[in-house]
């Protein structure tokens, strides 16, 4: 019994707080407080980092006297996230962003108890009077990338390194494949999943498998892609289309372009709405028309895309943005 107690004590002592929440706040001092819950680390070079940087930029613009932020990261589990959401609400945070589709249930539950607080979550579609949902139209840029990749491939084989067949990943992959088919139906797309969002080594091996099977342009989503991009950069003549944020610093010689979400504008929109008394009730779309999605080309590889192809790409982009080209979503 004593040994068990000692062991538990060791466990408690050795386990440093993995997540840190902001300090207790006093309510009504006029400072806008934003709490953010992230499924992975805020420096994952993808989904979580994008949102972290977006909120940081908004808070920095407003000034420390007017806005503050706190982050809870690495909570893939919705139950833990639920505790963090409630904690922020209890501490008087004004806007609480749970940045993951898996957080929907705990978020709705807490939001009902704190009608004065704005809650936001995505990718999601459920809203209420104090809940914003946001929905990045991942398939739009993916379609355009697929279209471009199909024109650029030498081997006529492309690869998609997916994490888990759900959420954004499906939307993105679905759009990419449609783009390839529109450009050249004879180009093969290898689509596969690692079964994990964060296993970089596995994603790297999966990318290797694609390259083995002669894929010369790859793409993929989630924080695991850092590994896949490593594999791509190890192989000459193999390139990558990125998602979430501008990932070109990771592999400047391999990343053709990135679909980057402008989380800053999304967060700014929610802050403005909140201050104007609109606490939620809207699905905020991230798409090409509102420029919350940006397609960022890597200047290092600018020569790779011929000017005429680039011109065609721009006109396709306009068609997609205007709705002239409809990108379907999976049912």
């Amino acid at each position: 019994m004593k040994k068990l107690l000692f062991s538990l004590l060791v466990l408690v002592l050795l386990a440093p707080g993995l997540a840190f929440a902001g300090g207790a706040a006093e309510v009504d001092d006029g400072v806008l407080r934003i709490g953010v819950i992230l499924p992975s680390g805020r420096d994952d070079m993808s989904w979580s980092q994008g949102m972290y940087e977006g909120v940081s930029a908004v808070v920095a613009n407003m000034g420390a006297g007017n806005a503050q932020m706190a982050v809870t990261e690495n909570v893939p589990n919705p139950v833990d996230a639920g505790a963090a959401i409630r904690d922020y609400a209890n501490q008087g945070f004004n806007i609480i962003i749970a940045h993951g589709s898996q957080y929907q249930n705990p978020l709705m539950e807490v939001a009902a108890d704190f009608p004065e607080v704005t809650f936001a979550h995505g990718t999601a579609f459920e809203t209420s009077s104090n809940i914003f949902a946001y929905d990045p139209q991942a398939q739009l840029g993916a379609y355009l990338f697929g279209w471009l990749a199909a024109q650029m491939t030498n081997s006529q084989v492309l690869g998609i390194v997916g994490p888990v067949r759900a959420g954004d990943a499906i939307k993105y992959n679905y759009g990419f494949i449609q783009g390839v088919e529109a450009a050249n139906p004879s180009v093969r797309v290898l689509e596969s999943y690692t079964g994990s969002f964060g296993d970089n080594i596995q994603a790297k091996e999966m990318a290797e498998a694609h390259i083995n099977a002669r894929a010369d342009i790859l793409t993929g989503t989630a924080q695991q892609v850092v590994g896949a991009i490593q594999a791509v950069s190890e192989n000459d003549g193999v390139y990558w289309f990125a998602n979430d944020t501008d990932q070109s610093p990771l592999a400047p010689n391999s990343i053709i372009a990135s679909q980057a979400y402008s989380w800053e504008t999304v967060v700014q929109y929610m802050v403005d709405s909140h201050m104007a008394g609109k606490l939620g009730g809207e699905i905020i779309s991230l798409d090409l028309t509102n420029e919350r999605i940006q397609l960022v080309f890597n200047p290092v590889l600018a020569d790779l895309v011929p000017a005429d192809l680039m011109a065609q790409f721009e006109s396709k982009k306009a068609d997609v943005a205007s709705g002239a080209i409809q990108v379907r979503l999976p049912e």
């Binding site: 466990l11 964060g198 080594i201 091996e205 290797e208």
Partner: protein
């Protein structure tokens, strides 16, 4: 479908299998030594993470990969001493303290990464090192002898571990301490000392396994939780291996080859849900384990049992 059986794809599969098996070999052989002495080190995953971060950080800052590896060895030794202190000296319940070590490694590696580097950076890791003559052996040469030197080291550790365990006086002491520490003690063997040595060596090997995930890759990078459960699989492989180095080799290769296989079976799109191939390595390993447990398994019977002179358990 037919293209799947092309030589290049098969070669790629086998090469990837060897590469994937490497961290399991380092961590698994180390864990096997630790368990042979009677200590279940469930913190392997956390120690791998520490090794992955420390080696990458030191190599990145110094520009010297070997310095990074040395740092991983030292960090592994430190974690080993901590593990041994908790499990051997303080006689804590090993399953629980191991989880503590895991959480510590996960937390510390993430924390130090944030404090020191802050963002994902990449660098060149150990390059491929083709072994002359051997690399020209058909198939085998490409698969086994065109990897980086850490892969060779891991493969060499299999016969070395085997010789240490079965052919040396130290190995005999380890086996006796893990099975009947009272017998060892009655002959003047220091159970504590042997267990400390084994846990520390095992932890160093776990740390090197972590280093392989960063600086052992051609393009090296550290990301949070890069081990992604490999440490726990290594622990499971030790049971699969029945505490035999050759079994660790077999288990690591079985698991990794099937993993490499499933990555490739997915991309030929034969219309099965991707979840099935993803689970395949685990399923096959469990099935093989279940089928192979027939016969007497002479594992270290004192595993997880702290030694107290005069108290027979």
């Amino acid at each position: 479908m037919s293209e799947f059986f092309q030589a290049t794809v098969l070669l790629g599969l086998l090469t990837a299998g060897v590469r994937l098996a490497t961290p399991f070999l380092f961590a698994g052989l180390g864990e096997m030594l630790s368990q042979r002495s009677g200590v279940l080190n469930l913190g392997v995953e956390g120690i791998m993470l520490i090794g992955a971060f420390v080696s990458f950080f030191v190599a990145f800052e110094s520009g010297n990969l070997y310095l990074g590896l040395l740092a991983a060895i030292l960090a592994g030794a430190f974690m080993g001493l901590l593990t041994a202190f908790v499990s051997v000296t303080m006689k804590a319940v090993q399953g629980i303290s191991g989880i503590g070590i895991h959480i510590l490694g996960l937390g510390l590696s993430g924390l130090f990464f944030r404090l020191t580097m802050g963002s994902i950076s990449t660098m060149r890791g150990f390059p491929r090192l083709a072994i002359p003559i051997l690399k020209d052996i058909p198939v085998l040469g490409r698969v086994l002898f065109n990897q980086n030197w850490m892969v060779y080291a891991a493969l060499l550790l299999v016969p070395i571990s085997w010789a240490v365990i079965y052919k040396t006086t130290f190995g005999l002491k380890v086996r006796s301490v893990g099975e009947n520490p009272h017998a060892a003690d009655s002959l003047g063997i220091s159970v504590t000392r042997v267990r400390y040595i084994c846990v520390v060596i095992g932890s160093i090997m776990a740390s090197i396994a972590g280093a392989f995930l960063t600086i052992g890759q051609h393009e090296a990078a550290f990301v949070n939780n890069i081990a992604a459960g490999r440490g726990f699989i290594a622990v499971a492989l030790v049971y699969f291996a029945k505490w035999n180095p050759l079994g660790v080799l077999a288990g690591a290769f079985l698991f990794s080859m099937i993993d490499a296989f499933q990555l490739r079976i997915q991309i030929i799109d034969i219309g099965i849900p991707y979840e099935i191939p993803v689970m395949l390595p685990y399923i096959v390993t469990i099935v093989v384990l279940a089928l192979s447990t027939r016969g007497r398994v002479l594992g270290p019977t004192a595993l997880t049992k702290p030694f107290v002179r005069g108290v027979h358990t």
